[in-house]
Subunit: 292 residues, 2 copies
């Protein structure tokens, strides 16, 4: 196999979802734009829709013959891109498994274990190296620096610098900047989750990322925004891994976010700094607790 056809399979599934709602398919270019893929892949999807008897397709005439059923979808395991698979597999190893700092990382072994080629593993490790968890010895192996206390402290130190600056910049955004609307939307979701915290506390992780990314974007600095990737991936896997007291922790974080949002609205630098620091401090503590 030269290239996985995960783009095709994933887009096919999303196309089926579209078909559940509407029985009308737009033109090829439009469908491509909707699904975020090229026309080549759109046509591959249409061809398959015809093959499985969901569609008659001739030039512009596209007639949906029936509603899609579960069996029409590709299994979700097949729709993940290779890099997602590698990332998950790798993170599980270094977060969950007994991964000692200083351990060697072997490209070939990793590749065999996941069942993929070495090229993909190498490219992943290179991309991943910017997260500061691994380091390359040229012409030799990678070294795992580990998800240690030091790592967490260094990460949060930079995070606090960047987020304070971003929050200050946020307050200076013009009244009509779309970020304020997005902030309203985010605040509403906070209230919604808090109102049903027992069932919905797991939705916090995604919301957290959405909120902080919005704040960071206000810095209009690519390095600050890019750095948020590091924070996001660490917290993402941290939430998956450490579930102790998740409900209470998330509830508290939601409240802190609300205070933080209110401070942003006030545009008062002092208040913003206070609310921001307060929240970042508890985020840091949560992270540190999960390490030791």
């Amino acid at each position: 196999m030269a290239k996985q056809n995960t783009v095709f399979k994933d887009a096919f599934n999303r196309c089926l979802k579209l078909l559940e709602q509407t029985a009308n398919l737009p033109s090829e270019p439009e469908l491509g734009a909707t699904l975020g893929i090229s026309r080549t892949t759109v046509r591959a999807i249409l061809t398959r829709l015809e093959e499985v008897g969901l569609l008659t397709w001739e030039k512009r005439r596209k007639i949906v013959l029936r509603k899609p059923v579960a069996a029409d979808y590709f299994p979700t395991e097949e729709t993940d891109s290779l890099s997602e698979i590698i990332e998950r597999s790798f993170m599980r190893r270094i977060l969950a498994g007994g991964a000692e700092p200083g351990m060697q990382i072997n490209e070939l072994e990793l590749a065999r274990e996941i069942g993929i080629g070495t090229t993909s593993v190498r490219e992943f490790l290179i991309r991943f190296s910017r997260f500061g968890l691994i380091e390359k010895r040229p012409n030799s192996h990678w070294v795992l620096k580990g998800f240690t206390r030091d790592f967490a402290l260094e990460l949060t130190e930079v995070r606090e610098m960047f987020e304070l600056r971003s929050a200050t910049a946020f307050a200076r955004l013009p009244e009509d900047h779309p970020a304020w609307q997005e902030l309203d939307a985010i605040e509403a979701v906070h209230h919604a989750i808090l109102a049903d915290i027992e069932n919905r506390y797991r939705d916090f992780s995604e919301l957290d990322e959405r909120f902080h990314l919005l704040v960071h974007r206000a810095s209009k600095n690519r390095f600050i925004v890019d750095f948020y990737d590091v924070i996001a991936i660490v917290f993402h896997y941290h939430y998956q891994w450490n579930k102790t007291n998740a409900r209470e922790r998330n509830a508290r974080a939601l409240e802190e976010h609300l205070a933080y949002i209110a401070a942003l609205r006030s545009r008062d630098p002092i208040e913003i700094e206070l609310a921001c620091r307060q929240h970042l401090k508890s985020a840091r503590e949560t992270l540190l607790q999960s390490i030791n």
Copy 2:
């Protein structure tokens, strides 16, 4: 060719340099440690030394037969690693050549132009992407964001945050920390260059990197230290590219460094902040001038 033997050639050349000074070669492991290579490569070097009649080698008996001459060395073009070649080639294109922001970057074209495989180009681009100058469209090309005014401003904004914090941390290093000695050594080189500025002003670039890296290291934060790579590469190529008023500019920077070093020694936070800001401000201005 599967792998370049640049490690061998480069180490061979360095070994010849050793032979110019001493006529005695140590054991294989020791030589390997000196040259920073494995024993396998050491033995390849010894074999070649024998082939070209520089050495008789049998087990522990290594007898140097003559001094190496210029013709014994591998040409320098052959000792650069592939990634260095790609980097130079790429930087020339995007800094010197008419590289408009928004331009597409084509892996295949780049590879053909440099005369190497696509894998190496891809890996380079992935590594390079953390410098914020290019961006990937998945399943499609890379986009050049360009060495623009915005780029320089964003870069220097973060640089200033990081360096101020590092400088403050530097002042808190214990009296006996090796960084203070290194600072003395660096200061001495400053005086030496200033004393012969007409001839030596080109040495500033390297010294600049050495000094600022030392300061950044005091932060003991991998993200801050790693970020210095971005600064270093930008200034490195910037110095190569923009030579107008280089002598005066470097002389001024050297003076600013000396003031900055004195401030660090004073350990007075206010003085440090002042000297640091002053220097970073002119560094930023120099960079900006070269852009428009």
